[in-house]
């Protein structure tokens, strides 16, 4: 049987490190901040830890809390005046390029190569 799962000593300081990065602190500056808290580490170690955290896949039910979506509000009541149709954006065309439904890009590299005769 395995023992207690490994946990980095940096784990409890994740929020601190994230806030420091968001405030444009360098990795070395974060090392010094952690040193002041008695944590001995290095800049590459913090970098690797943050990178791992970004890619972390959580077990089902153990995901961190997601920020709540903004509440859906009712659309404003229609005004009495009808909108000026000429100012409305053009209706989406059936043939207009829709990035979501576009086919994969055609190969840009030419398939055929033309050999020009170089025999004098």
């Amino acid at each position: 049987m395995g023992g207690k799962p490994f946990q980095s000593k940096l784990e409890p300081h994740y929020d601190l490190m994230r806030d420091a990065r968001r405030s444009r602190q360098t990795w070395q500056a974060i090392v010094e901040i952690l040193a002041a808290k008695g944590i001995t580490t290095s800049a590459p170690a913090i970098y690797s830890f943050m990178k791992r955290r970004r890619k972390r896949r959580y077990a089902f039910g153990m995901e961190p809390n997601q920020p709540l979506l903004p509440a859906v509000t009712d659309p404003p009541a229609p005004t009495a005046q009808p909108p000026n149709l000429s100012e409305l954006p053009p209706s989406p065309s059936e043939f207009e390029a829709d990035p979501l439904s576009l086919p994969p890009k055609m190969k840009t590299k030419p398939m055929w190569t033309v050999l020009k005769p170089n025999n004098p």
Binding site: M106, K107, K109, P110, M111, W112, T113, V114, L115, K116, P117, N118, N119
Partner: protein, 246 residues
């Protein structure tokens, strides 16, 4: 053989478009690094893109894998490739490699039955791969003879010369064409002469088959100097063998 046709086109001053679709051998792209490899037999979509992007060149050469015959014929039928080419004023020429193994002969038969006289043919005989007279005795060969289908017979090349080409390629760190290999200073003189003879024979036969290789033979800017075959030109009189008059 594709290499021979392309070498002749270069010699004759005919621009040629090429594409390598044989992922197993990559013969064309190894010898002509400019040639792109396109996996056109992976799907009908790829094949369609390849055929529809064919440039306006007097000669276009595509090397497809032998085992893709069925796919190619099906795709050509469903996409009506020959109709599309015809509307562009393009006529396809299919190289038929004379062979005596059942798989190859079945492939030739399927090709002829599917394409019939809507395409031109060139029969290629490679002595290294074709030892029996099975093909020559077939009805298809007779049909080709009646229709005047050109035949290109590749002269046999000695193993020593082929080894020289391999060595020259190793020296240059890339697969050389015959034409490139003979220019190497390290090439043995007799091997060079053998390759010169090979190239001359291929050029002569390509020139003879030019009516199915290029739209108009007037496009040929450089004609081949035909080496006189002294033995064939002057047969020995069986009863007076020494009666020689120069």
């Amino acid at each position: 053989m594709m290499e021979g046709i392309l070498a002749w086109a270069n010699f004759a001053g005919v621009p040629a478009a090429i594409v390598d679709c044989d992922g197993e051998h990559l013969t064309l792209s190894k010898r002509f690094p400019e040639a792109a490899f396109v996996d056109a037999t992976r799907s009908r979509d790829e094949f369609l893109q390849l055929m529809s992007s064919m440039p306006d060149s007097p000669l276009s050469v595509a090397d497809f894998p032998a085992q893709a015959t069925e796919f190619l014929l099906d795709s050509m039928q469903s996409l009506r490739v020959l109709d599309a080419l015809e509307s562009n004023g393009t006529r396809m020429t299919v190289l038929m490699f004379a062979a005596d193994d059942p798989t190859a002969t079945a492939s030739m038969a399927k090709t002829y039955r599917a394409l019939g006289n809507r395409v031109d043919y060139v029969v290629v005989k490679n002595p290294a791969r074709f030892r029996s007279r099975l093909f020559d005795e077939s009805s298809l060969a007779e049909l080709f003879r009646q229709n005047g289908v050109p035949v290109i017979e590749l002269p046999a090349v000695t193993a020593t010369t082929l080894k020289q080409i391999d060595n020259a390629s190793a020296e240059k760190r890339r697969h050389l064409t015959f034409v490139e290999a003979v220019k190497m200073p390290s090439f043995l003189a007799m091997c060079r002469f053998e390759i010169d003879h090979f190239i001359n024979r291929v050029y002569v036969q390509c020139e003879d088959a030019a009516r199915v290789l290029v739209p108009d033979t007037a496009m040929i800017q450089n004609r081949v100097v035909r080496l006189a075959d002294r033995l064939a030109a002057m047969p020995v009189d069986e009863f007076q063998p020494l009666n020689i008059h120069e």
